[in-house]
Point group: C2
Chain length 116, copies 2
Amino acid sequence: MPIALRPSQSLRLLQQFTLSEVRDDAPDLTLRQMAILLTIYLDPPPHTVRGLAARLGVSKPVITRALDTMGALKLVSRHRDQLDKRNVLIRRTVEGALYVERLGDAIIAKAMELPI
Amino acid sequence: MPIALRPSQSLRLLQQFTLSEVRDDAPDLTLRQMAILLTIYLDPPPHTVRGLAARLGVSKPVITRALDTMGALKLVSRHRDQLDKRNVLIRRTVEGALYVERLGDAIIAKAMELPI
DNA sequence: TTTGAATGAAACGGAACCGAAACAATTAGC
DNA sequence: GCTAATTGTTTCGGTTCCGTTTCATTCAAA
C-alpha cells in the first residue's frame, strides 16, 4: 500500500520538519546540500562530482562547493579514484550517517504526530 | 491511524522531495525561509516578525531579511498594523499560496511513489 | 508629559553561495 | 607520442545570508 498523504498533512509534515531543523543546533544545510547528502547516502556508490551534478541537474562547481562545506562538517569525504585519477570518489562518514539518520528520525516523529 | 513511515521511506521521501526542488526552476528557498513561509500559510494569523522569530527560535533580523527576500518574490506581503503601529503584519499572497500548494503536491507525489 | 519598553528595520563586517569562465591533471584516441 | 576529450577545481564579480549591534518609531506607565 503506497503512502497516501492529504495536502494538509503533507504541508504540516514539511512545516514541522523544517521547524525542527531550524530550531535544532545542528548546522542547517541548504536544500542543495541536503539533496547531495541524501543521494550519497541512499543511492548506491560510487559517487562522483560529475554523477551528482547530473543527478541534481546542477553544474559541477555547485557540487564541488557543497562538498567543501560538507567535508568541513565531516559529513562526507573525498578520495581520488586510483583507477582513473581524474575521478573523485565521494564517500560516507560516520558523522554523515548519524546526520542522515537524525533527519529520518525527525521525519518519522513528525509524521506520527500528524492529525488524522 | 497515524502516518507510519519506515526510516528508509522517510529518507527516500526527503531525498525525492529535495531533488525535485533543486531540479525545479522555481527559486530555492532556504530551510529557514521555507519554515517561515509554511508557518505563515499554515498557522492562524496574525503573523508578526516577533511572533515568527519566537516560533522559529531565531532572531528578529533573520525574519526581517527572509521577508525581504520572499517579499521580492511576492510570496508574502507586509502591512503596518493600524491598531499598534509598531507591529508589521505579514500576509499571504496568491503567488505564495500557489508556491505552498506546489510544495504539498510534490510531497504527495513522491510519497505515492515510495516502495512499500 | 516624560521616561522606559517594545517593535521592526538598518548598518556592519564576515562568510557562503551563485553562474560563468578559465584552469591543471589525467586519460583516450589516433 | 601527441592531440583531444574528460574530470574536478579554482577564479572572478556579484549576490545573499549570517550574527550582532545600533537605530527610528510607537506605545505604555508613571
